[in-house]
């Protein structure tokens, strides 16, 4: 899944797709936290708590990211990152 996420990050041009890719990567990390904390000896809750924070942070990141996309769209009327690479409009 991390691989897929990286693939998406490196290939896709649409900003929303890039956000998808980031979410997928974060999810892969979360899954690993939950898995390792379960397979620890004895199982602990702390990994799950870390996933808590991770999910919360990812939610915030998605909110800000989407707002950024909106602003970019409003200013440039495109969300193609190829065309967003110029700082001066």
């Amino acid at each position: 899944m991390l691989g897929i996420g990286l693939y998406g990050l490196s290939v896709k041009k649409n900003a929303i797709r890039i956000l998808f890719a980031i979410e997928i990567i974060v999810n892969a990390a979360n899954l690993n936290f939950a898995a390792f904390t379960r397979y620890m000896n004895p199982p602990q809750v702390s990994g799950q708590v870390i996933v808590f924070y991770s999910i919360a942070a990812a939610a915030m990141e998605a909110a800000v990211g989407l707002a950024l996309i909106l602003v970019a769209f409003r200013l440039n009327s495109t969300i193609d990152v190829r065309r967003l690479n110029k700082l001066k409009g």
Binding site: Y7, I24, Q48, A57, A63, T78
Partner: protein, 182 residues
Amino acid sequence: MVFCQLGGGCELPLISIPPDLTFIVLAAVTIIGSIMALQAKELIYGAVALAVSFIGIAGFFVFLDAPYLAMLQIAIYVGAIVVLILFTIMLVRREATDELTDRPERGEGAVGVWLAGLIAVAISGVAALAGPNLPAEPQPASLPISDLGPTLALQYPIPLIILALLMSAALLGAMALAKLEK
């Protein structure tokens, strides 16, 4: 075959789904969902596939004895973030879907696949090396949900405070960004 005792003395064969099968199904759902999310032609379908992938991950959490985490995943990711994504897609939609030519150019596609393959091989290599060291069978102990709260509040109070600040900052930042300039 395991039999369970139920009220009235009747016996019901316990439906025991082998864990491997559950794992394979969940992994398939998750991975296909995430590939679809990135490759679907319509962004809306991409978002739906992303939701499916998130639900697959929630299934993994259940599988890993973290049901509260699974519910959190569904409520926050599928319930909130996907709605936000859908809404944004619809806000920017008309112009955005004009460029359905979101296909990667040749070199980039190859680089992407190569990167993904490299990561996958590396991770499975590490897993294969470390595999024998991991306990094959997890401890049958249960992780009660009521442990979450104390751990949250007692072991990690500082991140909680930081999270409050982060959330306020993110919310206000996002709103300030999305606000109309006057």
